[in-house]
């Protein structure tokens, strides 16, 4: 369905011609999986965004809120996509209580700006997510991407304390508040995390902020086999060390990072990419805490047969940490066509990883494994060209990964896949609670206008 010209004229009239864009060259920059919207609307206020939603309800057209468009490929291909609601103009800091460590920002505020603002106040928001340089606050929340600092600071569900949004009836609603502890009413804002724009147009987000740590540090340990790397990880956890991040990298991942850092002239840790497996740890606190953690990690590395260890220089730590925050971003551009799956599983053992690697080998494709201590597991498989024949085995990978996930009681999300492949993998059997999910969708969006079908399972 397209937006008829006279309807669009009415939309332009309601919001001002400046707000509504229909030029082909601009529309082309909002394309998602080959779908081009009929119009872009750039509301300048929450009320204008509500106006767009009410228009969409009346005209039975589908809308998708967008921010910086850095991760529009996430999720399944929407069934309909008529209007892109570009929230980039709503970019203010609505409220900041430095003494309470709470903050309220508009949906379109770039995370980078927010980060710079908070840094000046000696605070930060632990949303270390991919596409950090471009992503907006609402984009970071709606995409549900993992933060590299999750081990220490939790996921957004732990520090998103409230939200304002336009629901599927065109009303401005809110949930939560601006206080760090609150049980007033249903926690509807939690549902927006990872909702991919299918429930509401987010207009404002309230966060709890955190004090910037005084000192931070990084450590790298190299291992000949995955078992030893996992033993290192488990021992670090048992020692009760407060790590901000811990990631186990396959050699493929380490080598790719090293190559990118070398090419861009950034420092890289010595030894990176030289062992089969590497474990990166980052941590923060005061000088004594950081030194203590460095010492303990060195001891654990010796006990778990590390073949190489390094306490990282600040610059090395920053470039490696930055690369790991951006894993999704560079993995998806690492070959002409590839699949990135994200698994969340209670326990990762070497056997699971071996099964996955074998899957890639069976179709003669290169793969990379990146495992975060929080049980989040990225598995990427690369095809060296995007012609249909080369891409075909990738669907076998997705089926295989899902089967392994199911047998391990893990959840599996396909974060990235060639568009043609995505159409064949939108299925719901990986989501046993799909019926409940649909009820939530219906409550928020009774007319089914928000990016229908974008959440796996046709929701």
């Amino acid at each position: 369905m397209t937006v008829a010209a006279d309807r669009t004229a009415r939309l332009s009239e309601a919001l001002g011609a400046k707000r509504v864009v229909m030029a082909d060259e601009e529309l082309a920059t909002y394309v998602i999986d080959g779908l081009v919207p009929s119009a872009i609307v750039r509301p300048a206020s929450a009320e204008e965004a509500a106006e767009v939603v009410r228009f969409a309800i009346a005209e039975k057209v589908a809308v998708l809120p967008v921010g910086s468009k850095s991760k529009c490929e996430l999720g399944m291909t929407p069934e309909r996509y008529d209007i892109a609601v570009d929230m980039a103009a709503l970019r203010g800091i609505a409220h900041f209580d430095a003494g309470d460590l709470t903050l309220s920002v508009d949906a379109g505020l770039p995370l980078r700006e927010l980060d710079a603002f908070l840094k000046e106040q000696g605070q930060f928001l632990p949303l270390a997510v991919p596409c950090f340089e471009s992503t907006t606050a609402a984009g970071a929340i709606a995409s549900g991407m993992d933060s590299a600092l999750r081990l220490q600071y939790g996921s957004p569900r732990d520090f998103l304390i409230g939200a304002e949004f336009i629901d599927g009836t065109g009303s401005l609603c809110k949930s939560g508040g601006r206080v760090v502890k609150n049980v007033t009413g249903y926690d509807l804002h939690k549902l927006l995390i990872g909702s991919l724009g299918t429930l509401a147009v987010i207009t404002r987000l309230n966060f709890r902020t955190f004090p910037l740590p005084a000192v931070s540090g990084g450590h790298l340990a190299g291992f000949d086999d995955l078992q030893s790397a996992l033993e290192f990880r488990n021992a670090a956890a048992k020692a009760g060390l407060p790590l901000a991040n811990l990631e186990v990298l396959s050699q493929e991942v380490s080598s790719m990072i090293r190559a990118i850092l070398q090419k861009s002239g950034h420092p890289h840790p010595p030894g990176l990419g030289q062992q089969d497996w590497a474990v990166y740890s980052s941590f923060e606190g005061n000088q004594q805490v950081v030194q203590r953690i460095e010492r303990e990690l060195e001891t654990i590395a010796r006990q778990t047969k590390a073949v190489h260890t390094a306490i990282l220089e600040k610059a090395e730590d920053e470039s490696l940490g930055g690369m790991l925050r951006e894993s999704f971003e560079w993995l998806r551009w690492a070959s002409p066509a590839n699949v990135i799956c994200r698994l969340a599983l209670p326990q990762v053992n070497a056997a699971t990883v071996a099964r996955l690697s074998q899957l890639a080998k069976s179709v003669d494709l290169r793969s990379a494994v990146l495992l975060r201590a929080t049980g989040i597991f990225y598995f990427a498989v690369f095809a060296e060209s995007d012609d249909p024949q080369t891409v075909a085995p990738l669907s076998k990978i997705v089926i295989g990964v899902r089967a392994i996930a199911e047998s391990e009681k893990a959840s599996c999300t396909v974060l990235h896949a060639p568009t043609a492949l995505k159409k064949t993998i939108a299925r719901s059997d990986s989501m046993p609670d799909a019926v409940l999910q649909q009820r939530v969708k219906r409550a928020f969006d009774p007319s089914n206008i928000f990016a229908p079908g974008r959440v796996v399972g046709g929701i």
């Binding site: 430095a98 003494g99 309470d100 460590l101 605070q123 569900r157 732990d158 629901d167 009303s171 401005l172 609603c173 809110k174 206080v179 760090v180 502890k181 609150n182 049980v183 007033t184 009413g185 249903y186 926690d187 509807l188 939690k190 549902l191 995390i193 990872g194 429930l199 004090p211 956890a237 009760g240 060390l241 407060p242 606190g285 005061n286 004594q288 805490v289 203590r292 969340a344 209670p346 326990q347 049980g375 989040i376 893990a410 959840s411 599996c412 999300t413 990986s430 046993p432 609670d433 799909a434 019926v435 409940l436 999910q437 009820r439 939530v440 409550a443 928020f444 959440v455 399972g457 929701i459």
Partner: protein, 468 residues
């Protein structure tokens, strides 16, 4: 119902039902029938039978809730989960436990503490409250300042919907595909589903713990210290405040070692690596000194620490000795507004002729003013309710919210419109109706009855006792 569960699992005598008329709140409402299921399947059958007879149902754990969440406001069947109290699985390696809703909060920690783990949310009632109730109310506690409330520690749920359907959501890991349904159901106050199984995260106990008692001459100084501690980015594991009047009552009863001549104390707990704890303690001492603390005392051993916490956790019981009834309020404010909030509370108390005590989670701005009153004096009770409403409104005016951890229940549902608009209610109501369309499950809670959006829509056919 008796043929379904056996008569030993059903209560229907007047006297028995009377016992279930109360919970920890000042409200009361009598169920028509109380049942004790042992399995999820039984819960499902109870729900189906109640649905068939169009009788409301309400879930209940230990009944320690403070907002009337576990009271049968619409009468009907009360499902008490006390006999579904098994810890089904403990997975030390992955730091998870799977438990039935009737498991007592503290028993989870007891089961895993030898492995150096604990269940972090620790309401003052941890010795008796159940995890099912904690999930329903999204319970907090002193240590949630650093560790988060119940919702931050639940990864999967098994639920029985009002029509008897059994569903599972979330995952052992916590990240499941699609929307964060656990995030919606935890804290929904038993108005969307009955929780029959919970997977919780187990936290690792810190390497080092220090407990400090900071003693102040005035409550103003103590609250200013909390403001400064927060603003300086110091995050203790717990930061509790008790005013002088309250601590004297507590001291007379518990003998915890609180200085009877002080204006207020802060009970602070620091956890982490020894190096971090040391520097935090020094920073806190400096801040408290700047705020004119008389002394910052360090608990010298675990016995002294436990005694201080005993004083804190049993404070409400101690207050019971000096007045026939007390009403513990629950409001939340931005932490930067703490001194103003405490002053406002005193003014409101004065206006209604009450002395209002304060013992609360200062570190996260979660106030618990306590109003002592005599329930036999109807005027006093009404005044207590009016004072409460005014205090809660004041919290909202300062940028706060109606409840930090006790829930809305039937205590504050009429105050909800202070914070929420018709559009907010309409959305919450649509979410409610998707799961609980007839309001047969825990009716009369959360939504204001005075507004059209929140009527108790119970199609009650006589009393449950007769119908079932």
């Amino acid at each position: 119902m008796k043929s379904l569960l056996g008569s030993q699992n059903v209560l229907d005598s007047e006297l028995d039902l009377l016992l279930y008329e109360f919970d920890g709140s000042v409200e009361k409402a009598r169920p028509d029938l109380v049942v004790f299921p042992h399995t999820t399947a039984e819960v499902s059958r109870i729900a189906k039978l109640a649905a068939l007879h169009e009788v409301p149902i309400v879930g209940r754990g230990a009944g320690t809730g403070l907002s009337g969440g576990a009271l049968a406001r619409g009468g009907g069947v009360m499902i008490v989960f006390a006999r579904m109290n098994k810890i089904l699985e403990v997975d030390i390696e992955n730091q998870r436990a799977v438990v039935q809703p009737g498991v007592v909060n503290q028993d989870i920690t007891r089961a895993v503490e030898d492995a150096g783990l604990c269940f972090a949310p620790d309401p003052s009632s941890a010795k008796s409250c159940t995890i099912g109730g904690n999930v329903a109310e999204n319970a907090g506690g002193p240590h949630t300042l650093a560790y988060g409330v119940t919702t931050n520690h639940v990864t999967a749920l098994e639920l029985v919907l009002p029509d008897g359907e059994i569903v599972r959501l979330g995952s052992k890991h916590g990240d499941a595909n699609g929307y964060d349904l656990c995030g919606l159901f935890v804290g929904s106050e038993g108005t969307l589903a009955l929780v029959t199984e919970i997977t919780v995260k187990l936290a690792r106990k810190a390497q080092a713990v220090k407990t400090l008692l900071a003693i102040f001459e005035t409550i103003e100084d103590a609250s200013q210290a909390v403001v400064e501690i927060t603003a300086n980015g110091i995050t203790p594991a717990a930061c509790e405040m008790m005013d002088g009047w309250t601590l004297r009552v507590v001291e007379d009863y518990i003998h915890a070692g609180f200085p009877r001549d002080s204006g207020a104390v802060l009970l602070l707990e620091l956890e982490g690596l020894p190096e971090a704890v040391e520097s935090q303690a020094a920073a806190i001492e400096a801040v408290c000194g700047k705020c004119h603390a008389r002394q910052v005392r360090l608990a010298k051993d675990s016995r002294e620490r436990e005694l201080l916490w005993k004083g804190r956790k049993n404070a409400f019981g101690a207050l019971g000795r000096i007045a026939p009834a007390n009403y513990v309020l629950d409001g939340v404010i931005p932490r930067s507004k703490l001194p103003q909030a405490l002053q406002r509370i005193q003014e409101i108390g004065k206006k209604y002729g009450f002395h209002v005590g304060n013992i609360f989670h200062a570190g996260d701005g979660n106030l618990h003013p306590i109003v002592l009153y005599d329930p036999r004096n109807p005027g006093q009770f009404d005044n207590a309710i009016a004072a409460s409403a005014e205090i809660i409104r004041a919290c909202v005016e300062m940028g706060g919210a109606l409840t930090g951890e006790h829930g809305v229940g039937m205590e504050k549902n009429e105050l909800m419109s202070v914070l929420f608009t018709d559009a907010d209610f309409a959305l919450m109501r649509r979410v409610h109706d998707e799961f609980n369309p007839d309001s047969s499950l825990n009716p009369g809670k959360i939504f204001p009855l005075s507004k059209g959006c929140g009527e108790i829509r119970i199609k009650k056919k006589g009393t449950a006792g007769v119908a079932l």
